[in-house]
Amino acid sequence: MPRGMSNDPIVRNALSIGVATGVYAVSFGVLSVAAGFSVVQTCVMSLVCFTGASQLTFASVIGAGGGVAGALPPALLLAGRNALYAFSLRGVLNGPVSKRALRAQVVVDETTAMAHAQPTLAAKRRAFDLTALCLFTAWNVGTLAGALAGRGLGSPRDYGLDAMFPAVFLALLAPQLRGPDAVRAAVLGALIAVALVTVTPAGVPIIASALGAVPVLLAARRGRRKAVHR
């Protein structure tokens, strides 16, 4: 790397996001193959779907026997936040349709956070593109490495890989647990899932857990209405 480039905080952060993502991608590759997807299918998911938590959820529910009907809704619920991110990035991601279509593909947690952290529009665009480049490369190289390694691993349980899923989800959840509303929603979601797990087919408890957000959403709506009437 040329001198000076490493002093640029955007480049530095984008690179470190890339490294962290690469290792996360390796674990996705391993888990996806363990769930029954081929190496090629695993790589196609990372290239085309390119949204970590959704891919992980999809592979884990299918691996647990939930089937596509059980795996797709929670995966899409998680992917839904990319729609909100893309919405929040309006103005940053403009340009010709071809470029916007390409950039839409890389609208995820990390690229959005990096773009929003910059003070100017030019810096936002640069941060978005650089982070996207590092992230996309690392995610796909890591996936391939993990999928290839996973093929020769044998039982994923022996390596504790089944314990890796919840740990990874916990790391994703923790930063979102700001304030009592989020904690309430999380506890309610967990309770709904535990209550249903013995009586419904795999995947259903996860879908139903989304209802845990209902009380918070209703309270927020009441709050807004009150604000309007005032």
């Binding site: 299918q41 938590a53 992917a79 314990a163 919840p166 916990l170 979102q176």
Partner: protein
């Protein structure tokens, strides 16, 4: 594994991203909606954690995954990098199974 689950996931994931971008250019307000919808992800993640730690198929179980989750929770709380959290959880479960 057949290809159609992969195609369904990939197609809908991209559609969601593109939808946000298109809507973002049409509407310019209702930003407050952003937070309230974002909250839906929280109970789903919590459910994924408990289901994948405390159940196998349709039975509730308590095995090596539970202590692994405790280890992960401590590390997350101490802001340990993501990668180490994942490796430590897997390592804990693997070790406990080896010993058991």
């Amino acid at each position: 594994m057949s290809w159609w689950p992969v195609i369904a996931l990939c197609g809908s994931a991209y559609a969601l991203k593109a939808l946000g971008l298109v809507l973002g250019e049409r509407l310019d307000r209702e930003v407050s909606e952003r937070w309230s919808l974002q909250i839906v992800v929280v109970p789903v993640l919590a459910a994924l954690i408990v289901v994948q730690t405390f159940s196998t198929g349709q039975t509730l179980v308590l095995d090596a995954r539970a202590p692994a989750l405790v280890v992960a929770a401590v590390l997350v709380w101490r802001r340990t990098p993501f990668v180490l959290v994942a490796v430590a959880a897997a390592g804990t479960a693997a070790l406990l199974r080896l010993v058991a």
